[in-house]
């Protein structure tokens, strides 16, 4: 269930990809995600697939583990596919009662599905190969270049890191509360939507109370350990941009350009240009 979501999880293997500076990875992922929306033919998606496959193999993360991350999103992907399939006007290829499937619909639906899947895989590879702490450090650094956000870079990064720290704890807690209420005869499995929503109250209230209690205790503990915001704070781990990062950036640049070039290809692949 909740445990199947792989976005935001870290899977240490010590691979080359893991060792890259988080900033390199954030930069690449951002460029990659933007690029995904420029692709306009299947050559581009084929190239994307090869790039992702190479990175996955290099990262030594089991392919199955990454695929599992998409499972949680199957519903959203299906929905976009169905919507695009029937809602796009163009040359009809088949009719299903009042609904018509067009070539254009097929094309848009396929592209959207691939885009979403690659988007999820791309970002999960980033989170799977980067420890949360590195990720937040990297983001904190990147945020320094965004106006308005700059002032809150440290706070945002700290919030993210605490959220990541407490997700597993709160998930366990949810499970425990659910079981405890079940033991008191609560029924979460039957009834209509309204009844089910109402049934969530005995879970949500204790969960919120506990989250607030934890937040309160954590704040006290942080204060006791002399936390006073980002000012004058040092870090044990310094982000270090190394040779491999430079090399990767060059490689990245080439890949992104390569992806962009695919949009110029005029040879049709499955769909007309």
């Amino acid at each position: 269930m909740l445990k199947d979501v792989t976005i935001g999880q870290y899977y240490p293997t010590g691979s080359v990809i893991h060792k890259l500076d988080p900033r390199t990875k954030i930069l690449f992922t951002t460029a990659f995600v933007v690029m995904l929306f420029f692709l306009n033919n299947l050559w581009g998606y084929l190239a994307t697939f090869l790039i992702l496959l190479t990175i996955t193999l290099l990262s030594k993360i089991p392919v199955g583990y990454i695929i599992r991350g998409i499972k949680g999103l199957v519903l959203i992907i299906m929905l976009t596919v169905v919507l695009n399939l029937f809602m796009t006007p163009g040359t009809p290829v088949a009719t299903l009662g009042p609904l018509t499937v067009t070539i254009e619909g097929l094309k848009v639906a396929t592209y959207m599905a691939l885009r979403l899947i690659f988007l999820v895989i791309g970002t999960s590879i980033m989170t799977l190969t980067t420890s949360p702490i590195d990720l937040t450090d990297g983001m904190e650094w990147c945020m320094r270049f965004i106006p308005f956000v700059r002032r809150y870079a440290h706070e945002l990064a700290m919030m993210m890191s605490i959220a990541l720290r407490f997700i597993p704890t709160l998930m366990e807690e949810t499970e425990r509360i659910m079981k405890a209420q079940k033991a008191r005869g609560a029924n979460f499995e039957t009834g209509n939507i309204i009844a089910r929503a109402k049934n969530l109250i005995p879970i949500l209230i204790p969960l919120f109370i506990s989250a607030f209690r934890r937040a309160d205790e954590l704040a006290t503990a942080m204060e006791a350990r002399c936390y006073r915001g980002g000012e004058n704070r040092t870090r044990m781990k310094q982000l270090a941009f190394e040779f491999r990062d430079g090399a990767s950036l060059v490689l990245m640049f080439v890949m992104i350009i390569g992806l962009y070039l695919t949009t110029w290809i005029q040879i049709p692949l499955l769909f007309p240009v």
Binding site: R176, I177, K179, A180, A183, R184, S210
Partner: protein, 284 residues
């Protein structure tokens, strides 16, 4: 109600790299009306075991028979009925309180049982009294403005109000101060004697368990090490120590005294019993 655990095994995340065998072929019968203590260090399988008794967890293999009926062979709706008879008080039960008032919170269980308002009200009153709180004083209070010990009792009352025939408590005294510990244990004991219900108490404290129960179930790494009377279990000091459990200090004392007074009994685990034995043997 009698509870019979048959060839029960449970494996978490079977087939994944995180696979963990929490229970390995457990076979035990808990007689109707008995008082059982379960002991074992964290990860020994205690919590997994008790969650099978009311069907919160489903066994990987084996089953549980309640009054001779296989609980995992029943329909879902019957499982919910079963939970009315087998009350389970989780660790830190005060963390599941959610209603605006104590009265409403304790009523949650009986209401789920579909009882009449009158019946619910009566049970709420009774169970709050049973845990040693004054109904009139606390009924309209928010459970969250009570002290930690009082919250714990309200949570226990919430399970008692369902009038279970088997009551399972997972470390009901964790985190309480000495007086709070003593009071809760005394109430559990009197509940057992007055209501004649079966009680299963999970605890880390050998002292507490030794004082109260008919039989102790000692668990280690998902297996049953002992299931016997306290007198017998406490003489197995070497085995208990080898699985990270310690016996009460007085038991160690009696063992030491035996070197000089061979006739002294070793199967002693309360201060009271030690006093009597010492007076009898040493003072003569």
């Amino acid at each position: 109600m009698s509870v019979e655990i048959k060839n029960l095994s449970h494996t978490y995340s079977e087939g994944s790299p995180f696979e963990f065998k929490a229970l390995k072929d457990i076979n035990i019968t808990i007689e109707d009306g008995s008082f059982i203590g379960i002991i074992g260090h964290t990860g020994s399988g205690k919590s997994t075991l008790i969650q099978h008794l009311n069907g919160l967890l489903t066994p990987t293999s084996g089953t549980v028979l309640v009054d001779g009926k296989d609980i995992f062979a029943t329909k879902k709706s019957d499982m919910i009925l079963l939970r009315h008879h087998i009350g389970l008080v989780f660790q830190y039960p005060e963390h599941q309180l959610f209603e605006e008032t104590v009265q409403k919170d304790v009523a949650f269980g009986p209401k789920n049982q579909g009882l009449s308002d009158q019946e619910v009200d009566q049970r709420v009153r009774q169970s709050i009294k049973m845990v040693g709180l004054d109904f009139e004083e606390v009924k309209d209070k928010s459970p969250f403005e009570l002290s930690g010990g009082q919250m714990r009792r309200v949570a226990i009352a919430g399970v008692l109000a369902m009038e279970p025939s088997v009551l399972i408590l997972d470390e009901p005294t964790a985190g309480l101060d000495p007086r709070g510990r003593e009071e809760i244990l005394a109430q559990i004991k009197s509940l057992h004697t007055q209501k004649k219900i079966t009680v299963i108490l999970v605890s880390h404290s050998m002292e507490d368990i030794g004082k109260m129960v008919d039989k102790i179930l000692v668990m280690n790494e998902g297996e049953v090490v002992f299931f016997d009377t306290p007198n017998r279990v406490f003489t197995e000091i070497t085995t208990l120590e080898s699985i990270g459990l310690a016996v009460p200090e007085v038991t160690y004392l009696m063992r030491r005294l035996k070197e000089k007074y061979p006739e002294i009994r070793e199967d002693i685990f309360t201060v009271e019993a030690a006093k009597k034995e010492i007076l009898k043997v040493i003072r003569g």
